[in-house]
């Protein structure tokens, strides 16, 4: 139509002005529901779902006792991941930065965890009847903090150098009470007593597993098990599931960034990826208002497959153009 004045704004006409035909929406929904239900039942029956048992601290102590000893030592030395984490657990580090913004530090410590005390010493102090342990605890309390750290660090080094990390292969040294504390800790874990000793406030009903999970993830065993299942961060693990089960394919873009530089080599990778994904998500949500992006579909032309012109010979639509 020549001379048609170009209107400002969106020229899309009202959909209610177009010719209609009968369509049963409720039937469509019921059919969709039946199909999805049938598909779900079939897939559930054929493939089931994964349920790999949680690793208890007792399991950990049985499967990887040297790792438990090394982890307890690292907690006492203040070198474990949780001990050096920073907010929200402690102030040992600043936490990550998103560009110039130390967001974690600004929010601060809201879930206080003192790794040496909460994860190792407090559970040990609950034990009775172990004279060697009682003496070691007394010794630890009486030693100055700087000297304590030095003893724990020395033992940690010695364990790392020992064959297989085996405490029995560690040469004599100035370790103070640390070897005894670590050995008693392993014994406590093996007996199953550690699992319940880490719940907050000795509550009867365990609900918050923060301490137990921080301890477990301070060790190497949990990560070793996960990496064996391709669940590691640099293995696109966020998308994966144990065995051959379907994972989370929709996480592909989030985990992609961790596989490439600069994120893969940055100490602020988590914050940077979060920031980038927040930006991209905002872009995704706001597509309708982004010039260029919002007119891309017209030019891509896929719509021509969706809205094909009626075939020749089709009877022209009749009837009033309203519902």
């Amino acid at each position: 139509m020549t001379g048609y004045p170009r209107r400002r704004g969106d020229p899309t006409p009202d959909s209610h002005l177009f010719p209609t035909r009968p369509y049963d929406l409720v039937k469509e929904f019921v059919v969709a529901l039946a199909v999805v239900l049938a598909l779900t039942l079939a897939l559930a029956a054929a493939f089931s779902s994964p349920d790999r048992r949680a690793i208890t601290l007792r399991d950990w102590a049985t499967a990887a006792p040297n790792d438990v000893v090394a982890t307890a030592t690292a907690e006492l030395a203040g070198t474990s991941a949780s001990a050096t984490y920073g907010p929200p657990y402690n102030s040992a580090a600043q936490g990550q930065q998103l560009g110039p913004f130390p967001l974690a530090k600004w929010i601060g410590v809201h879930i206080p965890v003192n790794s040496a005390y909460d994860l190792v010493l407090a559970p040990l102090r609950l034990q009775h009847g172990d004279a060697a342990l009682t003496a070691a605890l007394r010794d630890w309390r009486a030693t100055a903090p700087a000297r304590r750290s030095a003893q724990a660090l020395a033992y940690a080094d010695a364990l790392a150098k020992a064959s297989g990390g085996n405490p029995r292969r560690v040469p004599p040294g100035a370790y103070g009470p640390v070897p005894q504390l670590a050995a008693s800790f392993l014994q406590l874990a093996r007996s199953g007593g550690l699992d319940s000793a880490l719940t907050p406030g000795s509550s009867f009903y365990p609900a918050d597993q923060t301490k137990a999970l921080l301890l477990l993830s301070d060790g190497a065993y949990l990560e070793d098990q996960a990496r064996a299942e391709h669940l590691g961060g640099d293995q696109w693990g966020m998308m994966n599931e144990v065995g051959n089960y379907p994972g989370q394919p929709w996480m592909w873009l989030y985990t992609f960034w961790y596989q490439v530089k600069p994120f893969s080599t940055s100490g602020n990778a988590d914050a940077l990826v979060w920031g980038l994904m927040a930006l991209l998500t905002l872009g995704f949500v706001l597509v309708p208002v982004i010039p260029g992006l919002r007119s891309l579909p017209r030019h891509l032309g896929v719509h021509r497959l969706i809205w094909r012109a009626p075939a020749p010979g089709d009877a022209p639509p009749r009837g009033p153009t309203r519902t």
């Binding site: 035909r21 994964p50 293995q235 998308m239 994966n240 599931e241 089960y245 896929v302 009837g319």
Partner: protein, 60 residues
């Protein structure tokens, strides 16, 4: 009931920086195939007209 799928090691495909499980690859492939099929397969019932059909206009 099928044997647990995790008892077998998961199968993965490596392609440069990309590592993806066979299962996820199958899912994504199926989604793309279904999308393309949805665009190409004709939708039935285009030219039916029911002038005499009672319509509920929902007003009043």
């Amino acid at each position: 009931m099928a044997a647990p799928m995790w008892s077998a090691a998961g199968r993965y495909v490596d392609w440069g920086v990309i590592q993806i499980s066979v299962t996820n690859l199958v899912i994504i492939g199926l989604m793309i195939a279904i999308f393309v099929a949805a665009l190409l397969v004709p939708f039935p019932g285009g030219s039916r007209h029911d002038d005499a059909e009672e319509r509920d206009d929902g007003r009043g």
